[in-house]
Amino acid sequence: MTYGFMTVYWRDMIRFFRFKTLLISSLLQPALWLAFFGIAMSSNFDRLMAGVPVPEGAYAVGYLTFMGAGIIAMTTLFTSLFSGIVILFDKNWGLMREILASPVNRNHIIVGIAMSGVTKSFIQAIIIMVFGILIGAAFFAGFTPVQVAFGVLGVLAFVAMFALGFLFLSAAIAISMESPEGLQGVMTLLTMPIFFASNALYPIDTFPEALRIISAYNPMTMLINGIRYFAIGPDFYALGKHYEFTQADILLSFLGLIIFSAIMFALAWWRFRRAVVT
């Protein structure tokens, strides 16, 4: 069984494109975040920040650009975490028994689901970037075509690594749980702190000490650092704060995501090996 994961991937993508309403709403939702929350907040923040001086020659970006990176991360988080639901449905009413009783290695199931999850996140990330630019976010502003290509690849690499971690986590939880309601509860519980204890919508420097430390080690923050680095640049001002990333910072963030994903893979692998579905 060399290509078992491709079979799982093929089937997952059939389902992704089959549910047209789900497909469209999953693509529309982040766009709506940008369009409403983004434009509303940026008109306020940008007015407030108008009085805050930015040093001569520094590059300042509006709030929409700043939080656009956060929206890409948020969408990736939601999509990845909730993609485990298909496993639960398969387990209770679907193909899981067929798959588990087949000669396909169980790791291939995890890998196949991970690949389809990453594909979905890529599609969403690209749509948000395009839509963001259309409504005025300064993604890749002033980049040469080569820099744009490099920037997009960088963003996608970060998105992929982050998505993998949460896909594995989601798969591990789903295979261990009995009811979709329970899973929904756990996922909702997880998304809240992960999303808000990050630098998605605001800088974390002014957080209380404990929260600031949690936020700094939050994979979400690492992802957003990567996205901002590749989509905005290594040195910019936003919300009156100077953002400066060295290559080492970014490598460290990426490394953090790799470690996070590896741990989550181990967790999923362990849960799947023990999974008994009869």
């Binding site: 290509y3 089937r11 009413w93 679907g94």
Partner: protein
């Protein structure tokens, strides 16, 4: 792939002293049996008897706790990969993705088992024809009727040309007509050479389909044999009686030497007799007349699987949702 194949005695499934517990509850309690190549073998027993647990061990979904089991010569524990490649499975519950089409579900299965493209496409066409779902090829599985879903699952189970096809309660929840059609499909598949291992709690199903039956209850095989053998073990006729005073009639008939056992089923008396029932009937009628008991109906029949089951387990097959069966026997002879 060519496996070691069946042993010298033609056994394709061999199970020895299989045991399986969930906590303190022994679901399978030391069963042994063999299934011969090419036959339809069935486990007949009530829900909760341990049939599904046994089948799940054989198809490698549950790990074997105690005992030994081989399929097509492969050990289910140490050679589970080979076992998986040798078998087809139709699960007890419908195991289809509601949002995939008939063709996609078969294609998915062929891919899972690493069948080459050309072979799996040809096989899909063959099987769609076999189970008469050609017209439904592009239909989502959620739009199929219960019988069609089952046929699709049987087709799927046959995709890889398995040596053994496992059918766990294949006709559960189907209407009588559809069930009979399913039996035809199952017989057809068997005629083509596939060994079939079936579990069921329907007496008629076991009786109609099986070459050999094992009656299983409380995790143990109670008796095994061909349907004929099982029925012949009762070795006598059954007489069903309906009188205007069943209580007195029972007391009277108990004393007749030719009556072996007497039971009541609903509001009818069931007599199990030693000899040819037609010779016993006049005596019974005489006895009841003399006592002034009126007979409204009288019926003589050969024992059915139903009777066999009741005889050996001491109760009727309980159905889902029903209370445990009440004790049915008034053992006259003991």
């Amino acid at each position: 792939m060519e496996g070691p194949g069946p042993g010298n005695d033609g056994a394709i499934i061999r199970v020895e002293n299989l045991e399986h517990s969930y906590g303190n509850f022994k679901a399978v309690d030391g069963i042994s049996f063999t299934v011969k190549k090419g036959e339809i073998f069935s486990f007949l027993g009530p829900n909760g008897a341990g049939k599904s647990t046994a089948i799940n061990i054989l198809i490698t979904l549950l790990s074997l706790q105690k005992g030994k089991a081989t399929i097509a010569g492969y050990d289910v524990t140490t050679e589970s990969q080979n076992v998986r490649e040798s078998i087809g499975i139709v699960f007890q519950d419908i195991t289809l993705d509601r949002d995939m089409t008939v063709w996609e579900l078969l294609e998915f299965h062929g891919r899972l088992y690493d069948m080459p493209v050309k072979e799996r496409r040809e096989r899909i066409e063959e099987l769609l024809k076999l189970v008469e779902l050609e017209a439904k090829r592009d239909e989502l599985s959620k739009r199929l009727s219960g019988g069609m879903k089952r046929r699709l699952e049987i087709a799927r189970g046959l995709m890889t040309r398995p040596k053994v096809l496992f059918l766990d309660e294949p006709t559960i929840g189907l209407d009588p007509q559809t069930r009979m059609r399913m039996w035809e499909y199952i017989k057809g598949v068997n005629r083509e050479g596939t060994t079939i291992f079936l579990t069921t709690h329907y007496m008629d199903e076991a009786d109609q389909l099986s070459d050999r039956i094992s009656i299983i209850d409380h995790g143990k095989i109670i008796i095994a044999g061909t349907p004929e053998e099982l029925k012949n073990t009762l070795g006598r006729d059954l007489i069903y009686l309906d009188t205007d005073n069943n209580e007195n009639a029972t007391k009277l008939l108990e004393q007749m030497p030719s009556v072996r056992e007497i039971t009541t089923k609903g509001n009818r008396i069931v007599l199990m007799v030693h000899e040819d029932g037609t010779k016993v009937l006049p005596g019974i009628i005489d006895t009841l007349r003399k006592a002034g008991i009126g007979i409204s109906t009288i019926n003589l029949k050969k024992p059915s699987m139903d009777d066999v089951f009741v005889f050996y387990t001491g109760r009727e097959l309980r159905d889902e949702g029903q209370a445990p069966a009440r004790p049915m026997f008034l053992r006259a002879g003991k």
